[in-house]
Amino acid sequence: MTSTLRLLSALLAGTAAIAATPALAADPIKIGVVTPLSGTYAGIGQQVRWGLELAATEVNAAGGIMGRPVELSFEDEEANPSVAVQKAEKLFQVNKVDFLTGTVNSGSTLAVGQLAERAGKLIATTVSFADSITADKCSPNVFRVNARAGQQSAALASWLAKEKPQAKVFYLGPDYEMGRSTVAAFRSNVDRVGGSSLGEVFAPLDSKDYTQYFGQIRATRPQVLYTSVAGTDTVRLFTQLQEFGLLGNITVLGASGTVTAQNIGAIGKAADGFVTGVGYSAEIATPENKRFVEAFKAAAKTDPDLYGADSYGLIFAYKAAVEKAGSTDTDKVREALRGLTWKTPQGEKTLRAGDHQAEQTMYVVRVAGGQFKIVSEIPGPDAIGADTCTKF
């Protein structure tokens, strides 16, 4: 209900802007948003929604895109590709949206991307981080404005090469496909920057006891422990590491989802010193970001996270592309988006023409006193990795 009200007020703000600027054509530019509004990923969907709504309100207040107001239509995808595809088809065929975004899990993005390709429309994801979306499963109709897993991993590895050259690394991942692939990706990055890998173990999801792996970790004497566990698993792993006194001489690195705002409180002091690579942090000390964080807080009563910030930035990319193309036509906008450089709260981003992946500055953050602090910036070109898309 509250979100309906919020949507209404956003729309009203948009209408008010039209009334204020008589030059605006009545015909709005429609952007469809298929995002999880219920279920496990509702929290992410909420950030996506806040980010997009804030950007749409600001764009409309400034006169819209080519004088046309932006109108957002939301649909709940329940983080299920089958639902996402059905809802996306509705937005394309019934609501006649010009552009679509919002998908969170990678399966939804891939499936909706294929639908867009067959329907001759464009989509962009602001959340999904599976490398495949802009690599082997790339599509000419899909863009990604957020950092993919490889960029996070590469950023962390270049920090590692600088801070701890020739580091000896041990890996501990959750035993499922994504856990194994994140470990494999970081391991190849460590090998690339000249570190050495001592060994890896995979613990079942929802493990209660991680101490059984500690003997193996201690025996190999690593300087660095990389982990990609998440949620409450991180809480148990970190507190047990602390109780066994392993945190004293080992630096713990992890995936961006390992320590988050949701579990950092429960981990407490054990999280101190944890380092990860991200594409956005509310701590970024640029005037653009400070203004964005304030506006976001005023609208949503909470801090933006990377999903909110990436979604906010997308609207401005689309605005720039449509204005450059002079139309919302799929082929023209695609051409305009390819190679586009635009400003976001995170700094400048560039959509690489070869695979439609955004190149952006990456940040390495470290936990200190329960807060993430930026410790290093990795320039975009160093983190983006090779263009492996062969489809276009």
């Binding site: 979100s3 219920s38 590709p81 809802k87 065929q93 399966g107 994504m178």
Partner: protein
């Protein structure tokens, strides 16, 4: 001499089960007529979304049909029928990606459904009642998680890139990308599944299954082996679910592990109970109704699951025979009246 009054030959009393099944056929006929009108209208206005949404509803109706064979006729609550639906979908997707032929995908899904259904049936039928529900649930979760973690099957991302195929019968053929064509085809396909299921359930084997739902202990005393009958029912339901699942990648062009998860199985059970368990046609109407409700309510509020939940509870409390229970008894009465002179 007066002729003796002709002895009233007792009209070969058609038993109520046959009458009930005929009433279902009447409703199925109504559904087909309605669907044809809808397809004609949809094609005339050049609609894509609603035709494809209805096609998806029919595909999930096939899954609900499988659940009804088990729940409504045999009295077995399967909480894992999505296992076979997802199996059919994955097998069909993999076949289509290798050989873009409808009949190859159909054959592969038929074979896979039968084989895996037999194996699953042997495991699940060792127990009854709530344990059967738990085992079917567990098997589907295990297979779902295995698919979710198998990179060769696309892992959590699923498989995209299932090609558009031409579905052909002799001289006729059409593309699976044509909304009206695919809708009509899926309508015919699901009605054939319905007809085959209805035929089997009207044979002595079907009667045996219904008897087992009432009292399985007595069936054994009548000289039948309930285990065999249950296994046959289980395999039929597995094949129906698998053949329905085989259509999914033709419509959507992808498969994802969510097709095997409990949400899919649970929705099918809700569909059957809302439509009317033990009617077969209730599964079809239930699926169409729930798909439309979900699509509309889902666009209107993110609390759509509450709406579905309330509808489900209302049906269970006020319409224990499902929505079909509102009309079918009337048709049954009309049918049995027709037979009297």
């Amino acid at each position: 001499m007066r002729e003796p009054a002709p002895t009233e030959t007792p009209a070969p009393a058609r038993d109520p089960l046959t009458t009930a099944m005929r009433a279902s056929h009447v409703l199925a006929g109504v559904l087909v007529v309605g669907a044809l009108a809808f397809a004609a209208f949809g094609a005339a206005v050049g609609d894509t979304f609603y035709l494809r949404l209805a096609t998806e509803a029919l595909i999930f109706a096939g899954l609900a049909l499988a659940v009804d064979i088990l729940l409504g006729y045999t009295g077995l609550l399967s909480l894992g029928q999505a296992l076979y639906f997802g199996l059919g979908a994955y097998v069909s997707a993999l076949t289509l990606m290798a050989v873009p032929s409808f009949w190859a995908a159909f054959g592969a899904a038929l074979l896979a459904g039968t084989v895996v259904g037999l194996v699953g049936g042997v495991i699940a039928n060792r127990v009854r009642g709530v344990y059967f529900a738990l085992i079917t649930f567990g098997m589907a979760q295990v297979v779902g998680k295995v698919v979710y973690n198998t990179r060769a099957l696309g892992a959590s991302d699923g498989l995209i890139g299932v090609p558009v195929v031409d579905i052909g019968f002799g001289p006729w053929s059409f593309s699976s990308a044509s909304p009206a064509g695919l809708f009509l085809f899926v309508l015919g396909y699901v009605m054939v599944l319905y007809a085959v299921a209805a035929y089997i359930l009207d044979t002595p084997l079907g009667r045996l299954l219904i008897a087992m739902r009432a009292n399985e202990g007595r069936v054994a005393f009548l000289g039948y082996r309930p285990v065999t009958a249950r296994l046959i029912a289980y395999v039929i339901a597995a094949v129906v679910a698998s053949l329905s699942g085989a259509l999914y990648p033709m419509l959507r062009g992808f498969v994802s592990p969510e097709l095997l998860f409990f949400t899919t199985s649970g929705n099918a059970v809700i569909t059957v109970i809302t439509g009317g368990a033990g009617t077969l046609v209730g599964a079809l109407y239930g699926s169409l109704l729930l798909t439309v409700i979900k699509s509309y309510v889902g666009s209107w509020t993110e609390h759509h699951l509450i709406v579905i939940g309330l509808l489900f509870m209302a049906v269970v409390i006020f319409l224990p025979r499902g929505l079909i229970g509102l009309v079918r008894p009337k048709i049954e009465r009309m049918l049995s009246r027709e037979r009297k002179p």
